[in-house]
Amino acid sequence: MEATRPLFIPVILGTARMGRMSLHAARLLTSEVSKRAGVETELIDIARLPLPTDDAGPAIKDPGFSARMDRADALIIVSPEYNHGYSGLLKHVLDSCLQEYIHKAVGIAGVSAGPFGGVRVVQNVLPVMRELGLVTIFWDVNFSTVQKVFDEKGTLLDQAFLPRIDKFLKELIWMAKTLRQGREQISID
């Protein structure tokens, strides 16, 4: 194994809704990941992926998204709540890949205008992560009353989120390293 190969942990912004405050949360997480030594990241906006909607699943796989998922060691999914669930578009995008996800780590950030910070969308997305072969961590980031967490330009107003994100990323990076070792070195046979 190449010891110097950096981890790649992209952040997926899971909403195409106009005026989405989740964009600020996704940018903050991308920025915090980029500060970690030995970790590369990228913000993937599902609104900008050229996936058709007249079919679904691997048949509509986008080569660019697939390549990034293949390269990834872990994912961060940022999602607001859509009636307690996640967006249909996020599911559509995630379902376009499968082998790219197997035995990789995932952390979830929920976003809401109310006080619960997306806890319901996090719970709803967990069984989907499991079926996709992703390994969830036990830390989430919950951006509650998000309009008070960021100003309209995306500036972080509540610094208490930084140590929370630190805990989340430490666990995610540990899991990403561990699973990379397992994928590449430990046989199931």
């Binding site: 190969r5 679904a56 197997i102 035995h103 590449e184």
Partner: protein
């Protein structure tokens, strides 16, 4: 007598080294054309997942 199916190691197309078989997973078909014969009660096929120990490249094939 039970018959054991032995498959050769997958080779990384980039590094030309043997890949590590790290997972078997039931993959559900999306329609009748993808109906799974491997385990009819579970309605899917079993896929093997492999990763390159050198570059991390991932690949899969039917088990």
């Amino acid at each position: 007598m039970a018959v054991t199916k032995i498959q050769s190691k997958m080779i990384c197309p980039r590094c030309k080294v043997e890949m590590n078989h790290h997972s078997d997973k039931l993959v559900y078909g999306s329609g009748p054309q993808e109906a799974g014969p491997d385990d009819p009660p579970l309605d899917g096929t079993i896929a093997e997942f492999h990763a390159c120990p050198k570059c991390g490249y991932g690949a899969s094939r039917c088990a």
